[in-house]
Subunit: 238 residues, 2 copies
């Protein structure tokens, strides 16, 4: 089991990556989103799971989802729908949306039932390591709808990016009527697992992505870089 | 054989990618550099070819090399040396150099013989599709040194990124005392092969990278997107 990175440390590391360590947000988001798409491809291939809906929040977790949407389409998924209820403030997100047009990926602000019923995969890219519960409108009702649709059709898979949205980053599921019933089929941790990842079900597929940190830096920050294979941008942890 | 993209069309497409199509330079360079590193890994693995020297020019081709250097280190190559004789004007290149520090990748402005003699791989990331011959100081003498070192040790492999530096992008090798003897062991075309790629030797390994364009856009610009496998960021063309 890998040592988890707390919400506080993850935020500090993120700031350090984009200051002294020299990365730009555009680079990190591209690599993170690519690793999300690769993880999904490895677990749920486009032949058996051709249609995916990605719910993107207004922050960086949502940005990772916007990048992943493009790569999933490039990897051969048939239909990708992006649900983007609240526009993020960073102008780079507008560019990420523009990039989707080339691939005929539809972007909507509301999740409608037709899209949901046709989705084999639902990707929760709403909130990441800087989230504090509870989920607010409209994301609370979106999560509720997703969970209901999963209960109606267990072949539909829910994939959470970094954090199952609504969970506390350090403590895991919280006691409220929506999130206490939320358990994704797959969790893709980015950079390092967060403490809440210890609370996933034994049958949740757990991946790690975000291959951009040296072992030296990971040592310094008290976490581990896993032994990625070859050129893989992700690794299955369980 | 894939339809090549002329110097003129490649420049126009590049401008379009970073305007109407919405990409940022940081994203495209990250994906291009990653595909360069993946191509190299597939052809010359880090067990048999542990040490690589990357010669980076002052433009975007050099930037692709700076990104590739980092990914090669992440893929397990033992010693990566970057030679960066003339600093590029774009401040993003300074960030790419900063990113190398985390991985203890040495950056020098001169190619010394000790580094060269210890290199299994020499990566020519000097000039790309906007280059016009002839090669100027200090790149002419660097290329001359590289070719000499290859003649002394044929196990040393020379890898060109997009264009073998010094060649004319549309016409291939030119008649001058240095470049007329230059034939890389491997060429990694980016986005689409350029016309000069038709002049490579039958034993030059030819790869394509830069997986970020839809088939629609490629059609519109008169070139093809190859059938990349799975999540691969590169494909071998011969």
């Amino acid at each position: 089991m890998m040592k988890p990175l707390s919400a506080k440390t993850a935020a500090e590391l993120d700031a350090s990556l984009m200051s002294t360590l020299g990365y730009t947000l555009e680079q990190l988001m591209e690599l993170a989103g690519l690793s999300v798409a690769q993880s999904i491809y490895k677990e749920y291939n486009p032949i058996n799971y051709p249609n995916a809906t990605i719910i993107c929040g207004p922050g960086n977790n949502g940005g990772d989802g916007l990048v992943a949407a493009r790569h999933l389409k490039l990897f051969g998924y048939e239909k990708i729908n992006v649900i983007y209820p609240i526009k993020g403030k960073n102008p780079f997100y507008d560019k990420l949306i523009t990039q989707l047009k080339m691939f005929n990926i539809e972007v909507n602000d509301k999740l409608n039932n037709e899209i949901l019923n046709n989705s084999n995969l639902i990707i929760d890219s709403m909130f990441g390591f800087s989230f504090h519960p509870p989920l607010r409108d409209p994301f609370d009702s979106i999560l509720s709808t997703i969970i209901k649709s999963k209960n109606e059709n267990n072949d539909r898979k829910i994939i959470a990016v970094d954090i199952p949205s609504g969970w506390d980053v350090d403590d895991g599921p919280i006691k409220d009527s929506i999130t206490e019933n939320y358990m994704p089929d797959m969790l893709i941790s980015l950079t390092a697992p967060k403490p809440c990842s210890l609370k996933i079900s034994p049958i949740t597929n757990h991946y790690l992505g975000g291959r951009f940190i040296s072992k030296n830096i990971a040592d310094k920050w008290g976490f581990e870089v896993p032994n990625y294979k070859g050129v893989d941008q992700c690794i299955k942890l369980n």
